[in-house]
């Protein structure tokens, strides 16, 4: 140990106070203290300082274990059955969705393996009818507007918890988990609340620019400050959204709520959307606040995304109004 001096005396004094020195070293400290009365005072303060006590009133009450329960059932049989059913139904659904050859409904595109689109992983057999009915409705709705864009039912989404609860989703599910040729059907995801009222869709159609949303979710912003959590974000695989419905976006964001880094990525989308509305500074501030509170804040961001798009759509009254 170096001789005691003005730059290391604190170390010596702590060890002196903690009885961590030999007799010879203690003597050296005492000699040094004789010449440094201010250090004697510091040593006294150190010794008088109260020790902290365990605060038994503080408890961690949130979840302690990531939920890894499969999205589509608890057993492999269920999942297998859903996968088979999906394969059988895909051609039919594609035909329904793309009934008008000139204006086919958008489906997941075949992409290189590195850019495998992320989609709902499977559809249970009990949801077939709902999917087909909803697909037919989509075609009907789309035919009233530009057929190149998708639709969503904002009114229903605003009031009812149509999203799947987070613990129904796989943690860290990756894009590569999803077959590339799987039909992307946001409404196929099971819901915990009432199903959106399809009959109200016409009055609440919001059109989203598919490419812009895909672009927003494909890239991580470059203006992200560097720190531990942000470092994780830079390693996230790109999320490709081949479907353009906001329903899917909402569900995707909530799915992200279980994974911190992906949740952050989702929150970036919220901020980008908020930036498009400079008049909504308050909302922008809320998004910023929510970003700081990931993953909990991701739910708030999700709500804001919905709200922002609704506001934007009403104000601009035009299609493809969200440009990121």
């Amino acid at each position: 140990m170096e001789p005691i001096n003005d730059s290391n005396y604190e170390l010596w004094l702590l060890r002196y106070a903690d009885d961590g020195l030999t007799a010879d070293e203690r003597k050296r400290v005492e000699q040094w203290l004789d010449a440094h009365p201010e250090a004697v005072e510091e040593l006294a303060l150190y010794r008088e300082a109260p020790r902290l006590e365990r605060d038994e009133s503080v408890h961690y009450t949130a979840a302690t274990q990531p939920n890894t329960r499969p999205l589509w059932g608890k057993t492999w049989r269920w999942t297998a059955a859903a996968a088979v059913a999906l394969l059988l139904l895909t051609p039919l659904a594609l035909r329904l969705l793309g009934g008008n050859d000139a204006e086919p409904m958008q489906v997941a595109q075949a992409t290189p393996p590195a850019e495998t689109p992320r989609v709902a992983s499977a559809i249970s057999t009990t949801q077939h009818d709902a999917i087909i009915a909803d697909a037919a409705h989509r075609v009907s709705t789309d035919s009233k507007s530009s057929p190149s864009v998708g639709t969503r039912r904002a009114a229903a989404a605003a009031d009812s918890p149509v999203f799947p609860v987070a613990d129904e989703l796989l943690v860290n599910e990756t894009l590569a988990d999803v077959p590339t040729d799987t039909l992307l059907m946001a409404d196929a995801v099971p819901t915990v609340g009432p199903k959106p009222d399809v009959s109200t869709a016409d009055s609440a159609v919001i059109l989203i620019d598919n490419e812009a949303i895909a672009e927003a979710t494909r890239h991580v912003p470059t203006d992200v400050p560097a720190d531990d959590s942000m470092d994780q974000v830079t390693t996230v695989e790109p999320i490709l959204i081949e479907e353009d419905t906001l329903d899917y976006l909402e569900q995707r964001l909530l799915a992200l709520a279980d994974g911190t880094r992906e949740g952050l990525q989702g929150s970036y989308l919220g901020r980008r959307l908020a930036r498009r509305l400079p008049e909504n500074q308050e909302l922008l501030a809320q998004v910023d606040e929510a970003r700081e509170r990931t993953p909990r804040g991701i739910r708030m961001v999700t709500d804001l995304v919905v709200k922002l798009i609704e506001v934007n759509s009403k104000e601009n009254n035009q299609q493809n109004s969200i440009t990121l």
Binding site: L11, P66, S229
Partner: protein
Amino acid sequence: MTAKEYTSAIPLWADDAMRLAVRCGGSKADSEDAVQEALASLWQCRESVALEKGKGYLLSATYRRLMSTFRHMKVQREFAAAEALTSAYCQQPDTDFDLREALDRSMATLSGQQRAILQLRDVEGYSYAEIGEALDLSVDQVQVYLFRARVAMRKQLKSMGYGTDQ
């Protein structure tokens, strides 16, 4: 660490991590977020973390997450506000509030790192080496920071009217 070990150990460790986060100045929500993210991190790499190292890993990860959050939230402003508040008390000592409140106020003047060291040392009973490992500091650094933290805290308490007999 196996999944079973994780499941059985975490309920015991989570509260300690939460206390560390709160002690470092995190709000309840921020602290829970930090602990939750640390738990998720531990869960993801549980197979490479030995059971006996698990708690240290969790506390360390919680601390880092919280500090990261603080950087984002520019908590320095909160520290400055707390310091100003403490200074006000220094100018006009108020002996009505109890020692615990005084301790909280004096703690508010310390850095997050100093608070973490105090918590790990006094409450968790960690050795200097364990604290250094958790906070990524050398043993000498831990000892110096601890010394300064205690001295600073005691000075604050004194300035608030708490003498040596309290």
